[in-house]
Amino acid sequence: MTTRTQNRFAHTYTLLRKALPDEPGWLSELRDEAFENFKALGLPTVKHEEWRWTNLKRIADTDFVPAELAEVSEAQLAKYLIEDADEIRLVFVNGHFADKLSKLPTIPDGLVIEPISRVLGSDEGLQVKLGRFAEPTQPFTALNTALFTDGAYIRAGNSLTIQTPIHVLYVSTDSDAPAVSSPRTLVLAGESSELRVIESFVGHGNSPRLVNSVTEIVAKGNAAVRHVKLLRESDGTSHLGWTELNVERDANVSSHSINLDAGLARNDVHAVLAAEGANCSLNGLVLGRDRQHFDNHIVVDHVRPHGTSSQLYRAVVDDKSRSVFAGKVIVRQGAHGTDAQQQNNNLLLSNDAKVDTKPQLEIYTDDVKCSHGATSGQLNPEAIFFLRCRGLDETHARNLLTYAFANNVIEHIKIDPVRLALEKLLTERFAGLLGGSP
């Protein structure tokens, strides 16, 4: 089985390399090496501890061709845009840069926002940065490095504060044969700089496809990066996304992963607090319905002393949907003064829904403050009773409580337009989800 799957991707790889003949030599080497890595690692199965609750059969059983650029109209894009966060926009369709849909106004000196394909040959020094941060030992990051076509490259120079959110949209569309696209984002925040980045993964049409993305974010000393990943893929999509955060001295990174739709989605967030006083906040929300499957795997690695990290992941699952959460906090020897919190709450709305969770602490030093909590259950009957006493009917009461449960994650988002847009979206979603209007 495994070898067959590798052969499949081998064909995909050959096709892709043919389509990209003029790449710089170092990139071809990087791709070859990554693909060798992928072949050696193979596709994980449920026998792998980190994949025990997510079955990749639908990927293993499909032949994928490299996705090609397709026509998407401004109107089709409109519903995925965010009000008040549309000044800078990079749009990629099926992993290829869509010039016409993107908006790149004159940007201040010291800030670079470009599709990766345009800077590969420039003096940006990408060959030393690409693929340096994300784990090369993970099969899908390796596969992404081998297969990626394009993605966003964002770099802020030292002491540069960019208040305007940068919206990166990765759109996938219907295709005749199942296609794989491999978007790649690289965000470099220089010392004492500030950046806001929104990544939207959106799907058009329901044909089966694979989106295998890698996002690398590096925050240099004292930098602040606010990152939100919005998942609005179609039900035919398998989304595998790896987000690598590298947080340096006294830097501050927040990353939200908002899972609204996808047939199958697996998000890996790997945060390395690489220097003293680094701080990160990782939050996530899953709203599952029908037969959707969401899997969030988080690793926070406290390497140096006095780091702080917090995690809040919440899932609301309805119908036959399933949510998986596995969060791990590692505190290395010598990382004293670490403060790490982790919280996972799950709300089951249907008896066919399923929740699997594994919050983990792995601690190798004594001077730490670490805690985690996990809950799973339904809405508190007393809270419903309280609201009903005040004149709300059952449906309204449930809607309101479910909304409040989910909103708890949203309210941590520090990019205002995104927060407002999501609050609006939640209101609409729960009205539909529970068959009433709030």
Binding site: L348, N351, L361, C370, G373, T375, Q378
Partner: protein, 480 residues
Amino acid sequence: MAETNETVQALAEAEYKHGWSSNVESDQLPPGLNEDIVRAISAKKNEPEWLTEWRLRAYRHWLTMPEPDWQKPKYPKIDYQNIIYYSAPKKKVSLESLDEVDPELLETFEKLGISLDEQKRLTGVAVDAVFDSVSVKTTFREELSKQGVIFCSFSEAVTDHPELVKKYLGSVVPYTDNYFATLNSAVFSDGSFCYIPPGVRCPMELSTYFRINTAGTGQFERTLLIADEGAYVSYLEGCTAPSRDENQLHAAVVELVALKGAHIKYSTVQNWYPGDKNGKGGVYNFVTKRGTAHENAKVSWTQVETGSAITWKYPSCVLKGDNSVGEFYSVALTRDHQMADTGTKMVHIGKNTKSTIVSKGISAGQGDQTYRGLVKILPKAEGARNYSVCDSLLIGGKCGAHTVPYIESSNKSAVIEHEASTSKISDDQIFFLRQRGLSEEDAVSMIVNGFCKDVLSELPMEFAVEAQKLLGLKLEGAVG
């Protein structure tokens, strides 16, 4: 105070109190494992044909299994051909009174603080003592039998109550269960058997003491405990072994069956030899313990794990019947190079099933421990409820504490809560106690005992005192 401290110091320096070995002559099979050895063990115990076959099935299945390696504590490969699978004190005839027990053996148990005789007269605890692989003495049998309670060694049960053994053996932990349980099923030599008839509240605590004596032996005992409808029993288990440089394997299986409305309380104080300061030697304690709770029944595990080089076990509850209850209370202490990977599994099958998990881990020196637990709610477990709390206390900058809870919920009405925390003993707490005249070690011991209180209070009285002392002893020299 000063004097006690000196005594404590002396004991701490002596390191392992039960490290001596006895010169009891033993009757043993050659080391190694093959079908002949399995048959030989079975023959030595005069076992019926079906049991020999059962062992052989287990052995053949074991050959097909890979040794698991997902656990956190890694250990050098065990050479299963180099273990003595059967060792028994010689001169074993059926014993009616204590006078007939080998005096050397009696002395052994005297040293352990379990004078069988004294135990019998003073504490009213019925004891089944298992020395190396066989049960040497069961006290209080007559009084128990008046109530219909059967408490005897496993091999006696096979002879005297084959119908019960045949019905329940492997019903909770099948011989195919896992690598070590399967190995145990093939080569188990003895253990305790207990049956409480319907509606009987066992009049006294039942207790088993395990001791590994002979070098190069593995201990593979099997405990089977059945509480019939509405019965109650409290069962204690204690373990020690001599200090030896090589690692000894202890792979036991404990099966509990709590029928409708029954209540089983199973307590363990595990103090196998932990190896020396540099991590040489010590017992590998790889045990499978599981209880099935039928309707309205309750299975409660309490464990104090202070010994063994590696402790790797997950006493579990299968909550099969409606309204059944499972409990797990655990204190695990690792110091020097000890490692522990322990926790529990609560499988909720019936409606309104409830489970509680309280786990306290203390890691000192270069000790490393992992709480690994599973709470699984099946789709039909309407109204299931779980509450788990796992706290870890770290003493020193080189130890490790890990928490890996698995929660799988397939029922929306189930409510599951899990919380865990990891911290060190705060300097403020120590300062407060030091101000009141306690030495630093006493202060730590007091804080640790407070930390473990929720679990220790679940132990039967005599054990709670012993466990508290044991914790204090184990912490000596680990602080500072």
